[in-house]
């Protein structure tokens, strides 16, 4: 799949949470702004793992509070040698 990490993360967020792409900004909280319940947040992390070929440890998932945090985390992980 082509596109920047940010675009690909937004695609998944739109698809999984059923939100309009136009409203997505980096500071939005998955829980408070996008209405994702605890199950949906886990599902989202799993979808990101699959999309980016990552394994995100469970103790790291609480770092994914906002869209921006998720994007940053993935970019950091992908930059690792």
């Amino acid at each position: 799949m082509v596109g920047t990490v940010e675009e690909r993360v937004k695609d998944i967020v739109c698809e999984r949470l059923g939100v309009n792409r136009a409203v997505l900004t980096r500071d939005l909280s998955f829980q408070h702004d996008l209405g994702a319940d605890s199950l949906e947040r886990v599902e989202l992390v799993m979808a990101l793992e699959e999309q980016f070929g990552l394994t995100i440890p469970e103790d790291q998932t609480d770092r994914f509070r906002t869209l921006g945090e998720a994007i940053d985390y993935i970019e950091r992980e992908r930059a690792r040698p």
């Binding site: 698809e15 999984r16 949470l17 059923g18 199950l39 949906e40 886990v42 599902e43 799993m46």
Partner: protein, 412 residues
């Protein structure tokens, strides 16, 4: 005196269409809804056809994220409930949500999800790849749950899983809830989707399915001497049951009255019907007694009529046992001749057919009945719909496990 219960809304998705209007037109026209299996690669299977919901695409029928959150069977249940709730036009602000309940059954539940997640796990050998929604999607009460959430129905909520008798029995339970004054409104029916490798393969192993691959439209032929099994189908049917005075007070449209129900079990064999249909006959007899309807007042019986060798004969015998000489005057037809067998959901769409028959004075045919079996000698309304005024009707459903459930319906 028992509280009276009427049908004030109806909805369905099934092989004949994705709403009640299309379904009813198809039934009267004698149109079948059977075609090639499109949901999985069936090349290694003996059976290559089924009754799928036509043109179904979860993404166009449901808004995100529901297509991902619900198994296909629950999607069908929700869609049928949406149509039924639109149809009944109950104003939410005017009802107590704790007086409104749900009884939506399923014979099998979320088989699609179960198979998909099992395949994923087997492929990856990693527990962490299992979808977090696996359990909420596959549990057979997920349709009842999501319908409760969408329409704020907080009263009694139950699920019946008695194989192919599920819908009738769920509707019977809903009837009791209202009669016993535990609810005023019950959204009742069943949903099913088992056109999967295990569904098709499993029923094939039981030798239950027709293998008429050269002519799928002629495969479901209840009471015909050349029948060779049922056609596996999918879909859902949901009716809104409502206490009569409650419905009248708000000026609701009333299709028919649900007069009674009864269920029995054959206690004979896990898949085969009792050869003389003793349990089935008793269910009909008890349902008529529950409804206080004399058998000779019944004009129409919507048969379970699945197109299996033993089942059609046993049901014919059971009808004769209950109705005696009146059996020869009774019209008996099989919705499954056109829709195939929606398993747990079949009774719900058949109740919709019965209610519309009473309302419109026409009984749908049994199609593909070219040469009636010598042991099936009732008036099955072959091939062509018949205009006839009927005021009392019954609808039969029987399931693996020996379950028998009969509903009695009357015109209002």
């Amino acid at each position: 005196m028992k509280r009276r219960v009427v049908i004030t809304g109806m909805g369905t998705v099934n092989p004949l269409g994705t709403n009640v209007g299309t379904f009813w037109e198809g039934l009267l026209a004698g149109r079948h809804g059977i075609g090639p299996i499109t949901q999985f690669d069936h090349s290694a299977f003996k059976c290559h056809f089924a009754g799928e919901v036509p043109g179904y695409d979860p993404e166009t029928f449901l808004e995100a994220p529901l297509p991902r959150r619900l198994d296909r069977f629950a999607q069908f249940g929700l869609l049928a409930a949406r149509e039924a709730m639109r149809d009944t036009a109950l104003e939410r602000a005017k009802v107590d949500p704790f007086r409104c309940g749900v009884a939506i059954g399923s014979g099998i539940g979320g088989l699609n999800e179960l198979e998909q997640q099992n395949a994923r796990y087997t492929r990856e050998q990693l527990p962490r790849v299992i979808n977090i929604f696996c359990i909420p999607k596959m549990i057979p009460n997920s349709a009842a749950g999501v319908v409760s959430i969408e329409f704020d129905l907080r009263g009694p909520n139950t699920v019946v899983s008695t194989a192919c008798a599920s819908a009738n029995q769920a509707i019977g339970e809903a009837l009791r809830m209202i009669q016993l004054d535990l609810a005023d409104v019950m959204v009742a029916g069943a949903a099913e989707s088992a056109i999967t490798p295990l569904g098709v393969g499993g029923f094939t192993q039981l030798k239950a399915l027709s293998l008429r691959n050269d002519n799928p439209g002629a495969a479901s032929r209840p009471f015909d001497r050349d029948r060779d099994g049922f056609v596996l189908s999918e879909g859902a049917g949901v009716v809104v049951l409502e206490e009569y005075e409650h419905a009248k007070k708000r000026g609701a449209k009333i299709y028919a009255e649900l007069l009674g129900s009864a269920s029995t079990c054959d206690s004979h064999h896990i898949t085969e019907p009792h050869p003389e249909g003793l349990g089935a006959a008793k269910a009909m007899e008890l349902a008529l007694r529950d409804a206080r309807v004399d058998p000779t007042d019944v004009g129409y019986a919507n048969a379970h009529g699945t197109s299996t060798n033993k089942g059609d004969i046993a049901e014919t015998q059971a009808i004769k046992r209950v109705f005696g000489p009146h059996a020869s005057r009774l019209l008996v037809s099989s919705t499954k001749s056109m829709t195939g067998h929606l398993l747990g959901a079949s009774g719900a769409i058949e109740l919709i057919a019965v209610a519309l028959s009473l309302k419109h004075g026409v009984v749908h045919p049994t199609i593909n009945l070219d040469n009636p079996d010598a042991q099936c000698d009732l008036d099955y309304v072959p091939k062509v719909a018949r205009e006839v005024r009927v005021t009392r009707a019954i609808s039969n459903s029987f399931g693996f496990g020996g379950h028998n459930c009969c509903l009695v319906v009357g015109s209002v």
